[in-house]
């Protein structure tokens, strides 16, 4: 906790809280990163499960690479936002649930991208790969859960 208190007392944290643009800009970029990462992950899930058809499966790793960039923006801005309120967030169950869901989603995102690239982009194999399809459904669910729990932090932090 002392490390979190140290972060909260840092010049960056102070700037973030008192500046007119710091916090709003970070939270806005956090949302853009979220929309790109989660949005493309959902589209890849639809594609792997034959709901979104007509596109080459070779595009999936490319879409996932863009999702990784979205996640990177989300992560960097998320860490910066955490600095200013770390002590409050770390005791919030709903925040910890969100973090767990984000970590699971991100691990599957990286695994899926690597797994699909390793399959040497054989189109038929990609779309019929049961493990990849199953994992994509899991990460679609965990991403949606992370988005919802992220929204609920403002409402439930005081309760849980």
């Amino acid at each position: 906790m002392s490390f979190l208190a140290y972060l909260e007392a840092s010049a960056f944290s102070e700037w973030l809280l008192i500046s007119m643009l710091g916090f709003p800009t970070l939270i806005a970029l956090h949302s853009v990163g979220m929309a790109v990462a989660v949005g493309l992950s959902l589209m890849v899930t639809l594609q792997l499960n034959h709901i979104l058809t007509g596109l080459s499966a070779q595009l999936i790793p490319k879409f996932l690479s863009i999702a990784v960039w979205g996640f990177a923006l989300n992560l960097i801005t998320g860490i910066a936002l955490f600095v200013s309120r770390g002590q409050e967030y770390i005791t919030s169950t709903i925040f910890l649930v969100k973090m767990l869901l984000v970590i699971v989603s991100a691990l599957i995102l990286f695994w899926l991208r690597r797994h699909l690239l390793r399959m040497k982009l054989a189109t038929d194999k990609l779309v019929s790969n049961g493990v990849a399809r199953g994992m994509s459904v899991v990460f679609a669910a965990t991403w949606v859960g992370a988005v919802i729990s992220g929204r609920l932090i403002a409402y439930l932090s005081d309760l849980y």
């Binding site: 970029l29 929309a35 589209m43 080459s56 991403w143 439930l156």
Partner: protein, 157 residues
């Protein structure tokens, strides 16, 4: 809109319903954000095709994505309208909200231009200057919509 109109909206049954329970607002926000992700995801796939990130003939796919993005937009619009009804004073003279509406209208006009002038490109491998412009403009406008949407709270008086 005048301040009396905003006050009238605040007195409507819809406004009362939105504020009648502590679970309605967070539920609406969750739906708004999940549908935003679906909207951005489907638009990204369309826009990446327009700017030449990939060049596949995919008319039926684009049709599906357009329908999906329209459905997500309708959900976003309805939940957004309920936010507006539930807390209309927050949106009075709110420059972030006004800019968001302008950007949504511009994004709509950009989509109409695509529909009228460029929709035939989906059945070819072609990427034109216009398609690149429409694709990048769409990405830029929707990023602006998200950013302004998040700024509304901070610009509320």
């Amino acid at each position: 809109m005048s301040s009396s109109t905003f006050a009238w909206i605040a007195d409507t049954p819809i406004s009362a319903w939105v504020n009648s329970s502590g679970t309605i607002w967070p539920t609406l926000e969750s739906i708004h954000f999940v549908s935003l992700c679906v909207l951005v995801g489907s638009l990204l796939i369309i826009d990446l095709r327009l700017i030449g990130f990939y060049r596949e003939r995919c008319a039926s796919t684009v049709q599906f994505l357009i329908r999906l993005s329209l459905a997500a937009f309708v959900v976003n619009f309805l939940t957004g309208a309920l936010f507006f009804a539930g807390n209309s004073p927050k949106y009075l003279n709110n420059s972030a909200f006004e800019l968001k509406l302008i950007l949504i209208m511009l994004a709509g006009m950009n989509a109409i231009f695509y529909r009228v002038r460029l929709s035939n490109l989906v059945d070819t491998n072609e990427v034109t200057r216009s398609s690149i412009g429409v694709g990048y403009l769409s990405l830029l406008l929707w990023s602006g919509v998200i950013i302004c949407g998040r700024m509304i709270t901070f610009y509320a008086r």
